[in-house]
């Protein structure tokens, strides 16, 4: 039983990483209605920017804020420069654009900061808690994720601009008719997603270390978490992220023959199984199509 609780707890600790990323994934999904494959790389780049400012002597929280704000604007800029001109091209073309963005950001970050692994500081310290299963940084990360989730909820639920963003995402035509500037709402969605991605990156970096390829696996888990929880529900995505962490750990511990190699395929298989029964994720809205 102790093994079980320990595994669940450490699953939650890794799940926090995925939850953080899943939140960013949901954000972009709300804005553009599909997944951004370059999101992990954008988050990685933001994390490098925070690191660079810290190297230049800016204190942690200063660098944090600079990176998040810069990411917000960079996200908006990417939407304006790259994806707005593509406009109504098919989704498949947009995905090709994401792949291109992925390659560019990854390669440029590699050129500027090279591919060596760098440690990243944490404001929460790294004292082991609960007998060593979870570190104080991981606890801090979980707290940050939950606070972020709360803020997002308040933003979407109680501010005019949040309402406008939701309207623009669900029914662009009708939103335009009531005077919402849909184009800018999408750009803002990109900006917010980039900013949340920056926070996620900065939180994750102390655990998995900083390097240009750090986000590959994390983004995948983020997608999985978000899809499992339901792409239309931020809280569901966070719950999904934690669940993926726990599932993955339990599969690694209790299913014989599952080493580190097979953890991910097993977790994915479970999620596909869930999706077959709940095609819109566990907490997602059911899509109804008008004929």
């Amino acid at each position: 039983m102790e093994l079980f609780t320990n595994q669940v707890l450490s699953g939650i600790a890794t799940g926090a990483i995925y939850a953080c990323m899943a939140l960013a994934v949901v954000m972009i999904y709300e804005a553009i209605d599909h997944l951004n494959f370059a999101q992990g790389e954008m988050a990685m780049f933001s994390t490098f920017i925070a690191w660079q400012f810290m190297q230049w002597g800016v204190p942690y929280w200063g660098a944090f804020i600079i990176a998040v704000v810069l990411s917000l604007f960079a996200g908006i800029a990417i939407e304006r420069v790259l994806f707005r001109p593509l406009g109504h091209a098919s989704i498949l073309v947009h995905i090709a654009g994401f792949i291109a963005l992925f390659a560019i950001i990854n390669s440029v970050a590699g050129l500027i900061w090279d591919f060596t692994i760098k440690p990243f500081p944490t404001p929460f310290g790294s004292t082991p808690l609960l007998g060593g299963v979870i570190s104080s940084h991981q606890a801090g990360m979980i707290a940050v994720t939950l606070v972020l989730l709360g803020l997002l909820y308040l933003f979407f639920r109680f501010t005019r601009i949040g309402l406008a963003m939701r309207a623009a995402a669900t029914m662009p035509e009708s939103a335009r008719l009531v005077g919402v500037n849909v184009g800018w709402m999408i750009a803002l969605g990109w900006g917010l997603a980039a900013a949340i991605g920056a926070i996620a990156g900065i939180m994750i970096a102390p655990v998995i270390f900083l390097e240009p390829n750090m986000m590959g696996g994390v983004l995948l888990y983020g997608f999985v978490g978000a899809v499992l929880g339901g792409l239309s529900s931020p809280a569901g995505a966070v719950a999904g992220g934690f669940m993926v962490g726990v599932l993955e750990n339990l599969a690694g511990t209790y299913i014989p023959g599952v080493g580190n190699e097979l953890k991910l395929p097993i977790a994915l298989a479970m999620i596909v199984a869930v999706l077959v029964f709940k095609p819109n994720g566990l907490f997602g809205r059911v899509q109804v199509q008008r004929v």
Partner: protein, 338 residues
Amino acid sequence: MSTAHDTAAEIAAARAAAAKPALTIPIVASIVTLALLIVVPLFIKNFYVFQLTIIMVYAIAILSLNILTGASGQFSLGHSAFFAVGAYACGIMMEHANIPYPLAIPIAGLICFVIGFLFGFPALRLKGVYLALATFALAVAAPPLFKLGTFEHWTGGVQGLLVTKPDAPFGISLSQDRYVYYLTLFIALIIYWLSVNLLNSRSGRALKAIRDNEIAASSMGVDLALYKTLAFGISAGFTGVAGALGAITVAFVAPDAYTVNFAISLFLGMVIGGVGWLPGSLAGAAFIVLVPNLAEGVSKGLSGAVFGVFIIAMIFLLPNGARQLAYYCYAQLKKLAR
């Protein structure tokens, strides 16, 4: 995405083409391309023949992706897995069971057809991103499964599996590389011919109807489940054949060759070639094989960035891929002819 109107136009165009089999520009273009594909390898170095073979193999894989996405509107990021299954099936049959390659290649395709068909069933319940994720899971799961110790005797585990490159039969004096190239070209032509006929048949129209509007299609009496799973199966089967040919070409099967990145580049090839336009598969394949090399040549450190810029340039200039270019040239030539 295409609309019902497009489909109607396609059918009308196909009928018109069938009605008068005159020497139209597209037919001339296909004949010239085919002639080039047959003649050129005789005069170039073995290494380039090898690269051309790889392009051809990828073209088959992209073509099968086109059948799935372009015709039935389903989306897959997992075709690297079917490619891997085809490659391993062929390699294992040739090396462990001594089955000759002319038999091993179609059996590999058949195995992939069955797997793809079965995978089509859970995929039926999923749409859009969810289907993308499920197929993605397939792509992620494939390499570690092939590396697994349990199957090491057959798959060679992490080390991979060496495959014997076949010699030309009947004493024809062709180098191995050239022979494999012509074999690939021959199979690619068969698959192309089958695919064109499939898409112009009753089943092809059913698939396009599903792509354009599922509800309308089902109320017209199209069996959604059957056709969608069938599309998955056929697409996976052709990809399996491509995988088998790939294994023979490279003479080696290794799990790390079939990662998610490969699935993504196949997808990219499809978009660059033009979704749903079968001849575009060749252009897309050429892009994903040649452009990364080209980018490496431009700048070693920034090769990823250069590749990305190339992709962006492509989708900005030609959002409908090589298809758009071909149609543009066609229109210009027609003007000239007048």
